[in-house]
Amino acid sequence: MDYYPSPNSPTSPPSAAVFNNTVHSIVFNTRDEWFMGRFTLATMQQWQQSEYGDEDRFAYRESMRQYWGTFYSNLENLRIVIKLNEDPATMDNMLAYGANENQIACARIMMAYTFNIMADTWGDIPYYSYGSDNPNFQALQLAGETEVIYPAYATQEEIYTDILKELKEAHDQLDATKAGFKIGDVIYNGNVAKWKKFANSLRLKIALKIRSANASLANTHINEAVLAGVFTSNADNAVFAFESADKNASPMYRAWNVGNRSDFAISNTLVTLLKGENIRETPTGADLNTNPFPGLLDPRLEQYAEVNKDGNYVGMPIAESSAQAAVIKYESLPSRANIIDKPDYGIVLLEFSEIAFTLSEINAWDQTHYVNGITASMQKWGVSAPDIAAYVASVPAANQRNVLTQKYIALYMDAHAAWTDYRRTGFPDYLVKPGQNYTVYDPATTTYHPFKLNAIPAEITNDLPKRMQYPAYEFTLNGDNYLDAVAKLAGGKDNLIAPLWWDKN
């Protein structure tokens, strides 16, 4: 009796097809209506939910934590891309899709990108490194030479150190004289030089993040990355553009137009910030916070949001119940043309403006980089040149608060990065904190509507979450390692308030 092999599926796939699928999945799953929409967009008060707002009040669902699993599947697929380009049995066949070393390097960069988001979300996690034999790196070893069924958690210090090293090595491995991915590279379409800049820019961003935890390591990488060449314009941006057909459309387009759910509106916090106004604590009370850019209307407002039914820009508060949300009829949607009705929306993995703000920060809040950042952001969102010039002319000068608040505005729709900056620096200090009373001003009725941000999890008292809990299945499937990792968290509990390694603020 013979074994019947599968007639349905190949056993040796094209590496470009695996890379293509994986990058799509990484981008989609980190930026969809759950992992970004109900998690960081809501937490960072860029969007709020307009119907059921439990996650806006930090009651994240278990299913959101379980993106963990999808991320590791994507990482395993990146490992397979590398393996296909290294295994003597397959590597020659893979030359049809680009030079082996360039494919490997691109996979390493996307691994670094993914692990960075994961470590920023959870803290210590099981980690895999292509270029390191650190025995603590035990993830993705089920199909490896030595099977690891219970991967230990690597520390954040080890992880970020290795990510930075991987990005450096991937940059060095990329060979611009040889072909990049000939197909399946949606981000740079096989442009090896741009991948090099992406590696350097990502390395700069991550190095800055860990500077307060390990300054010497950070500074080495910052200097090297800048020297090696980071983004210099929006043309360098790492953008993953979706397609016009529904099935391949952007995640937010799908949420609105395929799922037919309009669950989000732009946040009152962001709208008020962009309008140059302060948020009042109660209808007749004092200001809760002050706007770093008072009286300055940000022209990006009309690129970020739609006007409401009355023709005004009014943001959505953090509703405490669906019934309360239903009474609210003044909220503005996110921009239809630029975001939610744009199926081929390009999701930015990393952009020049963020790098410019980073350069400003490492150069003592440098004004030129600051202005570059604002300008690049506005250009990316389609603001006209005169409007940009007018805004830049009147925007208050660079300092920590202004640079980081501008960075927050520029990181619209990349709320995970904004959350990381907030945890690292405490900026923007404009956000509404748990326990605070605040109002939403509706110009149509000249009314201040009062609200209070009541956090649902008891542990959240006066600040935003510092991390997300591990998914519950880690306890049952990898319990000993999970408990070790939890014991290392500040406070020894797997909760939302344990600060991460680099969160020294």
Partner: protein, 1048 residues
């Protein structure tokens, strides 16, 4: 064999006598006597016309409690039940068909020991059947079904989403194709009895024998049966009738709890149409509001000023949605027999108008069964059945867009009048839903109008199936015979699902066609010889089994272009396609050898070797064997009052292979096709394993059979212990390994239990008889071993993940893990400072499988009248209800609108004496990382919560226990009642030989539910191992029916 004690009676008189020890009798009869009646327990009554004879010898035919019962066992071999080393329980078609059965499996409910069946009452819905518990942790554990020797596919294609209650249509078991009216008998084989069938017998075997015409004498007969059934709601969640939809709105722009809207210079009170909850103002007939229909009519220009109506509990509530279900079944059979042949043709039609509006089901089957002796030594036999099964508008259950009940019980406005919903379309064809955005936005928000769902978004399915056999029997010598045949089963199953343009969700059409074909080729030599007191028997045989399954699915993408057209071409973007093929071959040789001495000691050995195409070549051959024996004490010694006493024991192994394609690593195409310039592929989340080998199920059983008091009592008791080792499982791995699971041989699962069948005839007189039969099943499945540090295997997650169904080490199989209450040392539940229940991390809350099932069948006959009452009792087991959770959250259930311990409305503010107090304690709770905890410094809780806060805290994402929606699966059901009258006399000049009229009911009443309105059978969403979780239930329906049977 002579029978002593047979009652012989002159009909119409009290004159009678009993036969003596030699079975002889003599009786003086009056001149006018015409007929003698012979009655004896365990045998059918006979009436014999005297016809002037002086010697009348009668051969009695055995009846239900037979002493010399012949039963159908493995490979269709009829065996003397007395000598078997295992128990076989057989149910006759007459017994099953006292009521019109909708499908053959649920008909067995309560009728057989060792068999646990749960059925939904949805039109053509699924049944879960389990014999002696599970033998696989992740497989479906369904028994093998053999119909007339044909292994029949009984898959269930319900999606995982449908099974976990996340939305999907229940298309039922494939075995629903079998026409119950043609069933002559069903035998249930377990353990040793089943082993000859090989791999698939690890979960037991159900052998169905259909009616046939038996050769022997010239005869022609026609039988006809006609039934009509009516279905109506019997159990559904109990909803509140005090408060309407939306919330109680306060502040500017509101009045009396409603929003205000200024329309045409007048102010109207607006319930919150967009909020699919029922926390709105209390009903008050003096308040007139602009209901959703008034708003739509005004916007659409149907009315020139908005029409308002009082704020009252609706006249037409939810239950008016379901139609009275009707099923018309007609069955006709024509038999012709001669000395050397028998032919039967049967046709069945069953036409259902379902309880869902617009739903229907039409089943047709044609059967031709024939057998003939070609020579003295050669006979042939063939059966061929064609069945066609079409259904439209099966209910979608679970948490899905087209699940209307999700909007009736979980999320909705209690103030919605269903009479107003019936008009579901505006003049311009757009939808009228109660759940609109507002006066200015009359498109559906979350919920479609349920009538729109029924009439516009229905599914259709069509299955055409042909199954049959052709076999040849050659009598080589008197002792030796050859039997060879081919057994085939093939069906094509089309499913078409749709969402029309204008629905809340994107329009869509999906078409799936499945073709499943199984052919078995089998030949065997049978030997049987009696040498003095020794009976010898044996067989050797070989079987080749080929199975092929193909699936093709096409789905539109980006919505539909033209309304009302449901084709894949009518897709805005390119439709997506997926296809799958699986092929499998198993070659087998098998043998069985039996020996008996004076029918006192009997012994049987079976063995089989399989070669499977699904296992790697090094491991693809596996051998297994079984042995069973019996001692019939009553054959050796006479025991007073005991007619039969037998002890038996057996031990059997069954080897099992795996699903195809688990050996090689494979890459899957992305279902959405290419992206950009490149195709998309990824590695699967299950890691393959080139070293898989077969798994083994070993069953040990001991039993006792007793028949006593002149056959008025019979008892069969079996203890079984089933252990499956080297289980082929998808071992769940931490996702950090890169995979969710790995195919592996690991672990052990045991199932131990008791099967008891007890029959008693408490009363037996000339005209009246009362029989009781109880069938008791107790089984306990335990996960004995897993792998390494891994302590749990997830079977499925409930929608919203309030519970996870798991196989967890050391626990009973099918454990629901959820968030439990926190208890102090005295067993009090602990609340937090605000009065909300505290909870544990995920913890085992109990198995979804019951600890025992008991069926009690009472049959009364008085002259020509018979009455049957079947009670079905289940104890133990748990289920999780998402419907309960959301129905509490959204203020739908009656529990959310009651009065508190002070006698005040719980929805009144706490400050006004309302609210709810969780009866428990406050205290200091310290949790350890492993989930254990200690509670200290407790004081009684005195903190009241607002009613809505209390109800909404049933949602576990608030950090509260999901155990609030976990219930015991106990029930007592009045499963069947039938009342029949039989005319024994020929009618119309002998044109009609007999007539039977019956009225009956199924699922008439349910008692003992843990949570009123929530029945554990509402959680059956498939026949696989995902059980006990519900995400959007249909009510339970009861059936009334009438049946006429004619014999020509």
């Amino acid at each position: 064999m002579p029978i002593p004690g047979v009652s012989v009676q002159v009909k119409g008189t009290t004159i009678g006598v009993a036969s003596d020890v030699d079975g002889k009798y003599s009786l003086s009869v009056p001149q006018n006597a015409t007929t003698l009646i012979y009655t004896f327990l365990g045998f059918k009554n006979q009436e014999i016309v005297i016809g002037g004879r002086t010697v009348i010898n009668v051969v009695l035919e055995s009846d239900m409690l037979a002493l010399e019962e012949v039963v159908v066992t493995a490979l269709g071999i009829s065996r003397d039940k007395k000598t078997l080393g295992y128990s076989v329980q057989q149910v006759q078609g007459d017994e099953l068909n006292k009521v019109n059965q909708t499908d053959p499996l649920s008909a067995l409910q309560g009728r057989v020991a060792g068999v646990q069946i749960r059925s939904t009452t949805n039109m053509g819905g699924s049944s879960k059947i389990l014999i002696r518990g599970a033998s696989s942790m992740l497989g479906d554990n369904n028994p093998l079904i053999i119909v007339d020797g044909i292994p029949m596919d009984n898959q269930n294609f319900n999606s995982t989403n449908a099974q976990i209650g996340n939305g999907g249509v229940d298309y039922g078991n494939m075995l629903n194709d079998i026409n119950p009216g043609e069933i002559e008998s069903m035998s249930v084989l377990r353990g040793a009895a089943a082993a000859l069938y090989g791999s698939r017998a690890a979960n037991g075997v159900i052998i169905i024998t259909t009616k046939s015409a038996k050769k022997g004498k010239e005869a022609f007969s026609v039988d006809f049966s006609s039934s009509v059934d009516f279905e109506q709601v019997s159990v559904m969640p109990i909803l509140q009738n005090k408060y309407g939809g939306g919330a109680y709105v306060t502040g500017a722009g509101s009045s009396q709890g409603f929003e205000e809207a200024l329309i045409g210079g007048s102010t109207y009170l607006i319930p919150q149409y967009s909020v699919d909850e029922s926390w709105g103002p209390r009903y008050d007939p003096n308040i007139n509001v602009l209901h959703w229909w008034g708003a739509i009519d005004y916007v659409k220009g149907v009315t020139t000023t908005p029409e308002t109506a009082p704020w009252v509990s609706p006249k037409n509530d939810v239950s008016s949605f379901w139609d009275l279900g009707k099923t018309f079944s007609n069955n006709i059979g024509v038999s012709k027999t001669g000395e050397n042949y028998g032919i039967r043709f049967a046709y069945n039609n069953s036409l259902t108008q379902g309880t869902m509006p617009g739903s229907e089901m039409n089943k047709n089957s044609f059967k031709l069964a024939s057998n003939a002796s070609l020579t003295d030594r050669i006979s042939v036999n063939s059966n061929l059945t064609y069945s066609s099964n079409y259904a439209k508008g099966r209910p979608e259950t679970g948490y899905g867009d087209n699940s209307v009940t999700q909007k009736f019980f979980q999320w909705g406005q209690r103030s919605t009048d269903f009479g107003r919903l019936e008009n579901y379309k505006n003049q311009d064809g757009t939808q009228r839903s109660w759940n609109i955005g507002g006066v200015n936005d009359i498109l559906p928000k979350y919920a479609d109008n349920p009538y729109w769902t029924s009439y516009e978004n229905y599914s259709e399915d069509q299955r055409d199936r042909v199954y049959g056999n052709a076999s040849l029997n050659i009598k080589i010598t008197d002792d030796l015979s050859f039997n060879g045949g081919v057994y085939g089963d093939s069906y094509t199953f089309y499913v078409r699902e749709r969402i029309s343009l204008g629905s809340q969700a994107s329009s869509f059409y999906e078409e799936t066609v499945r073709v499943n074909t199984e052919f078995n080729y089998e030949g065997r030599l049978n030997y049987s010889k009696k040498i003095n007191d020794i009976d010898l028997g044996g067989l050797v045989g070989a079987n080749k089994r080929n199975v092929r399954y193909d699936r093709n699915t096409g789905t539109t993408s980006g919505g539909l272009i033209v309304p009302g057209l449901f084709t894949l071409s009518n897709s805005n973007d390119d439709p997506t396609l997926s296809d799958f093929t699986s092929e499998k071959t198993i070659n087998s040789v098998f043998g069985q050898f039996s020996a008996g001495y004076k029918r006192f000691i009997n012994m049987e050995v079976s063995m089989r070797n399989d070669w499977s195409s699904t296992l790697p070549e090094a491991n693809n051959s596996y051998f297994y064997w079984g042995v069973a024996g019996s001692f019939v004490l009553t054959e050796l010694v006479e025991i007073p009052l005991v007619n039969l006493a037998k002890v038996r024991a057996g031990r059997t192994q069954v080897g099992n292979d795996t699903d195809p394609y688990r050996i090689d690593p494979v890459y899957n195409y992305n279902g959405d096709g290419s992206f950009g310039t490149s195709p998309r592929l990824s590695v699967g989340t299950t890691m393959s394993n080139p070293d898989l080998k077969s798994e083994t199920t070993t069953t040990t059983e001991f039993g006792l059979d007793l028949v006593a008091f002149q056959n008025r009592v019979d008892l069969s008791v079996t203890y079984f212990n089933k252990l499956t080792t080297d289980l082929i499982i998808s071992l769940q791995t931490s996702r950090t390994t890169g995979y969710a699971s790995k195919a592996i041989n690991a672990g052990a699962l045991s199932s131990k239990g008791w099967e008891i069948s007890l029959g008693v005839i408490p009363v037996q007189t000339k005209d009246f008889q009362w029989q009781i039969r109880g069938n008791f099943t107790k089984s306990k499945m335990v996960v004995e071993e897993l792998y390494g540090e891994i302590k749990t295997l997830d079977i499925a997650n409930a929608t919203f993940r309030g519970v996870t169904l798991r196989a967890s080490l050391g626990d009973e199989y099918g454990q629901l893990w959820g968030y439990d209450f926190v208890y102090d040392d005295e067993g009090n539940k602990v609340v937090d400072g605000d009065g909300y229940w505290l909870r544990t991390p995920l913890t085992p809350l109990g198995s979804v499988y019951p600890s025992f099932n008991l069926g009690i069948a009472n049959n009364f006959t008085y002259k020509n009248i018979d009455l049957g009452i079947l009670l079905d009792i289940q104890q133990g087991g748990k289920f999780y209800s998402l419907t309960h959770m959301w129905a509490m959250y959204s203020g739908m259930l009656e529990e959310t609108a009651g009065v508190n311990d002070k006698g005040n409305e719980m929805r009144d503010p706490v400050s006004a004496g309302g609210g709810v107090l969780n009866v428990g304690v406050q205290g200091d709770v310290a949790f350890n990382p492993d989930g254990t905890y200690t509670v200290t410094n407790t004081t009684p809780n005195t903190t009241y919560m607002e009613g809505a806060d209390w109800a909404q805290a049933h949602y576990h994402a608030y950090g509260t226990p999901s155990a609030q929606s976990v219930f015991d699966a106990d029930y007592i059901k009045l499963r069947e009642v039938s009342l029949g009258y039989t005319f024994n006399k020929p009618l119309f000049n002998n044109a009609i030989k007999s007539v039977r009229l019956a009225a009956y009911g199924r699922n008439l009443a349910t008692w003992g539910l843990d949570q009123p309105g929530f029945d554990p059978e509402m959680t059956v969403n498939g026949s696989g191992n995902i059980q006990g979780m519900e995400g959007g239930l249909q009510p339970l329906f009861r059936t009334f029916g009438f049946n006429l049977k004619l014999q020509f």
